[in-house]
């Protein structure tokens, strides 16, 4: 009984209330701006580090450091982010909104890593250390009481603000209909700014309060606050009371799980697995709205590359690859081979997100499954059965993930894939029964029947040929009947329903094929390095992969090639550049924010000449007529 009480107190006071604070922050930002803040965890982490810097390094009193961080710095940061960055995304697609906040998450981690050396151990003392009270035989520290009090106070104040004050009611009106509210004289942008200021502040409170319970670690703190996602989803990102209840339930589940469940090999890291399972279950059982007639977001699609052009480009690329294979020095191949393998994995994003409009944050998990299958089935000889197993396993798992996730759209699907990726990190990749005690698996290069590709040079040429084949295949798919249907589903699910299009089958096929490509890329990536470890597939790298794909044009295969190579060269940059630490993540974050509203990317076919022509065309005549087909011209369409 005493253990149960202790676990209950820990569940509520240590985890539940902290999750409640950060989740309420998420709800506030979402309800005021309509943007889900993936960076909530990173912002809380930065708040905690700032508090540590002021209180522990500069010797400020705790209350002063807390006040400055929570009431001044973080609200200013939130308002600044909203005004400079997020306000522009009001009419942008979900893809751009997700990209920017994911970029902010990575940027937050990168900035913190650059400022505060992660290898230095830091601790934050609890408030009123040494003071405690005993209630019904259960000891509660004053710090825990502060956590409970702060979360309860935040819940009550926010509830009163949104339902009893004019600005609060106006804020809710903004969420329902921004334009209509603006007509009444209200300023929607002001409320969004206020929402972001409050959200960042709440996140910082959560970060500071939890920091004393765990080590002040950049990744741990970010991920712990990320667990607030699950609680926010219980309230469907709108209801504060339900969010609060969700947070407490999650905290209790986590506490009871750690206390009572046997630690098995599968669930060796329960603290991480439980919130992700909770998130997955909540998302999957949440009643989804029926197909709605959503607002249209104008995203200019890239030019469709024709069959002949894709073949010519592919042949030219293979020619260049062969020349490079003979001219690159030996040291370059490790980066080049990894880069091309990553580009193959990124092609899976072109299919799934670029064409299919489904945002996945778990592509590297599929790649890891591919590497695992290649290692176990391909053996030391690199049997081609290993490649088949890699494709088959990742496709099968992709289908299993996709089946329940098919009813999800946009943000919900992205969060479900994120939960899956985090679960895979904790339960699969860091499992010694899977990756061995050394947490490393050797992966052989495939053994081809006629020619050996075991040398770095030949493997480079082989990877380039595989990349080209998949890229040409994807472009052909884009021009095909299936491709038309795929883009139609992305553009207007509602119209597809009225045409009787079977969206479930199409979405399942896209997700499965995308996972298969990622699995194949993972197997080849393993071969490029000879071995893989859990560090190759953490979910956070899946986010980097997505950002790079967006930055270089997620709908273009050339963009994925460059993105893969840049990703690989990022490790070279980090290895040689000691200041700032994690410079590559900084660059990726900035680049992704910069180009998030141009899904075409630099390789989308809008050359300088074409843009000039378009501009001239717009100036001279309406766009509809400038693109008309002259009478008599043969209609070949995109399928030609």
């Amino acid at each position: 009984m005493s253990q149960f009480l202790a676990l209950t107190v820990a569940g509520i006071a240590t985890y539940g209330c902290v999750y409640a604070l950060t989740a309420m922050g998420l709800v506030v930002t979402y309800t005021t701006s309509g943007i889900f803040n993936f960076a909530q965890g990173a912002i809380g982490m930065i708040g905690a580090f700032l508090y540590w810097e002021l209180s522990q390094v500069h010797g400020w009193p705790s209350w002063a450091a807390f006040t400055v961080v929570v009431l001044f710095v973080m609200p200013l940061l939130g308002a600044g982010l909203e005004r400079i960055l997020l306000r522009r995304l009001e009419h942008a697609g979900l893809e751009a909104q997700l990209t920017v906040t994911i970029a902010l998450l990575l940027l937050g981690i990168a900035v913190a890593t650059a400022i505060w050396n992660p290898s230095t151990a830091r601790t934050v003392p609890p408030f009123f250390a040494g003071h405690q009270v005993s209630i019904g035989g259960v000891v509660l520290t004053w710090h825990q009481l502060i956590i409970v009090g702060a979360s309860a106070a935040a819940a009550v104040v926010l509830r009163l603000f949104f339902y009893r004050t004019r600005p609060g009611i106006a804020t809710r009106a903004v969420v329902d209909d921004r334009e209509l509210t603006a007509l009444t004289g209200a300023a929607p942008a002001r409320y969004a700014e206020l929402g972001w200021a409050m959200g960042c502040s709440l996140s910082a409170v959560a970060g500071i309060l939890i920091a004393s319970q765990i080590n002040l670690d950049i990744n741990n703190l970010t991920l712990l606050v990320v667990n607030g996602y699950a609680a926010a989803m219980v309230g469907r990102l709108r209801s504060l009371p339900l969010t609060f209840v969700g947070a407490i339930v999650l905290g209790l589940l986590q506490s009871y799980g750690v206390g009572y469940l046997p630690i098995s090999v599968l669930w060796s890291d329960l603290e991480q697995v439980i919130p992700m399972l909770f998130l997955l279950v909540v998302i999957l059982v949440l009643p989804q709205s029926r197909a709605s007639l959503a607002r249209r977001v104008r995203v200019r699609a890239p030019r469709v590359v024709g069959r002949r052009e894709s073949l010519v480009r592919g042949t030219a690329f293979i020619g260049i690859a062969v020349v490079l294979a003979f001219t690159l020095n030996a040291a370059s191949f490790s980066y080049a081979n990894r880069g091309i393998a990553l580009a193959i994995i990124m092609l899976s994003l072109t299919l799934l997100t670029g064409y299919g409009g489904q945002v996945s944050l778990c592509q590297l998990s599929f790649a890891g499954l591919g590497a695992f299958a290649m290692s176990k089935v391909g053996g030391t000889g690199g049997s081609l059965l290993g490649i088949l197993a890699a494709v088959g396993l990742s496709a099968a798992v992709g289908a299993v993930v996709a089946l329940p996730a098919l009813r999800l759209r946009g943000l919900y699907l992205a969060l479900a894939t994120l939960a899956f990726a985090q679960g895979m990190d904790a339960a699969f990749f860091n499992n010694i029964d899977v990756f061995g005690v050394s947490l490393s698996l050797s992966v052989a290069r495939p053994h081809l029947p006629l020619v050996s590709v075991t040398s770095d040079r030949r493997y480079f040429a082989f990877l380039c040929i595989v990349f080209t084949a998949i890229a040409i295949g994807l472009l052909a798919l884009r021009r095909s009947r299936f491709g038309r249907r795929m883009l139609a589903i992305t553009d207007s699910p509602s119209a597809c329903l009225t045409l009787g299009v079977d969206m479930t089958r199409s979405k399942l096929a896209i997700f499965t094929l995308s996972a298969a490509i990622a699995g194949l890329g993972g197997a080849l990536y393993g071969g490029a390095q000879s071995a893989v470890s859990p560090n190759d597939f953490p979910f956070i790298l899946s986010l980097t992969l997505l950002l790079l794909a967006v930055a270089w044009g997620i709908r273009t295969t050339t963009g994925m090639l460059v993105g893969g190579v840049v990703f690989s060269l990022g490790s070279l940059l980090d290895a040689h550049l000691t200041h700032p630490r994690d410079a590559f993540a900084l660059l990726v974050g900035v680049a992704a924010i910069g180009v998030s509203q141009n899904p075409e990317g630099p390789f989308g076919g809008r050359t300088v000449m074409r843009m000039w022509r378009d501009r001239a065309g717009r100036a001279g005549s309406p766009p509809s007529t400038s693109a008309e087909v002259p009478p008599g011209e043969r209609l070949t369409s995109a399928a030609g």
Partner: protein
């Protein structure tokens, strides 16, 4: 062909549709008019399965489809266009129509020829290779119509199809709708262009505050005092009617 029986829909305290009855017969263009906010688009959404009614039934050819989803209703022969455009902007105009034709089983050259025929019918054949998201509103509405026709619907619901068209184009559209009805299709037309409605519709239903306030031939509806009050802002309210 299409029967809406005692359908009611409420959004919170607002009664968007109140025991609405409508019959749409084969071979006729049936009009559905009413001031903004009368519930026309909500009724379209109920008929096509995007909105579940609180009460009432929707029957297609005598078959109750009230609980069927939009996809199933489409396969039973219900087609529609949207007030807020729902075209496939990433695709060309021809590809928009091909999606529907290929879903119906046509392939390759046959699908392409059928697609061009449909585009010709709505006057868009010269824009076949234009990317759909650069079309002006009027042309985009015609594209939605062509795409809906590609499914060979038995009943077609058109939500303000003439919006964005000039007088000549609107007249062409009117002739097309009459032709479609002549070919055995049941057409339900929501439209603000009263000239077009009065010209092509055999029968008109007038909706106001979620209730049918008048049904009849164009000449009857035109002279109905309740309709005039609804459009000209008479003293009577929906509750009084």
């Amino acid at each position: 062909m299409l029967r809406v029986d005692e359908v009611s829909v409420s959004f919170g305290g607002l009664k968007a549709l109140d025991a609405v009855d409508i019959d749409v017969d084969t071979g006729q263009v049936t009009g559905l008019i009413g001031p903004n906010g009368a519930g026309k688009t909500t009724l379209f959404n109920v008929i096509t399965g995007f909105q579940r009614p609180d009460n009432g039934e929707v029957l297609v050819d005598g078959r109750d489809v009230t609980h069927a989803g939009p996809k199933k209703r489409a396969r039973l022969g219900l087609g529609r266009t949207f007030q807020r455009l729902e075209i496939f902007g990433s695709l060309t105009v021809l590809d928009n129509v091909l999606v529907a034709l290929e879903n119906g089983g046509l392939r390759g050259r046959h699908a392409r020829e059928a697609g061009i025929d449909l585009l010709r019918r709505v006057g868009l054949e010269r824009s076949a290779l234009t990317q759909a998201d650069v079309l002006p509103t009027g042309m985009a509405r015609l594209l939605e119509l062509a795409r809906a026709l590609a499914c060979r619907p038995r009943v077609i619901l058109l939500d303000e199809p003439s919006s964005g068209l000039d007088g000549t184009e609107s007249a062409q559209l009117g002739r097309l709708l009459v032709d479609l009805a002549g070919e055995g299709m049941a057409v339900l037309l929501v439209e603000h262009d009263m000239d077009l409605v009065m010209r092509v519709c055999t029968r008109i239903h007038v909706l106001d505050f979620g209730r049918i306030i008048s049904v009849g031939a164009p000449a009857e509806v035109r002279t109905d005092p309740a309709v005039q009050a609804a459009y000209l802002g008479g003293a009577s309210t929906g509750a009084e009617r």
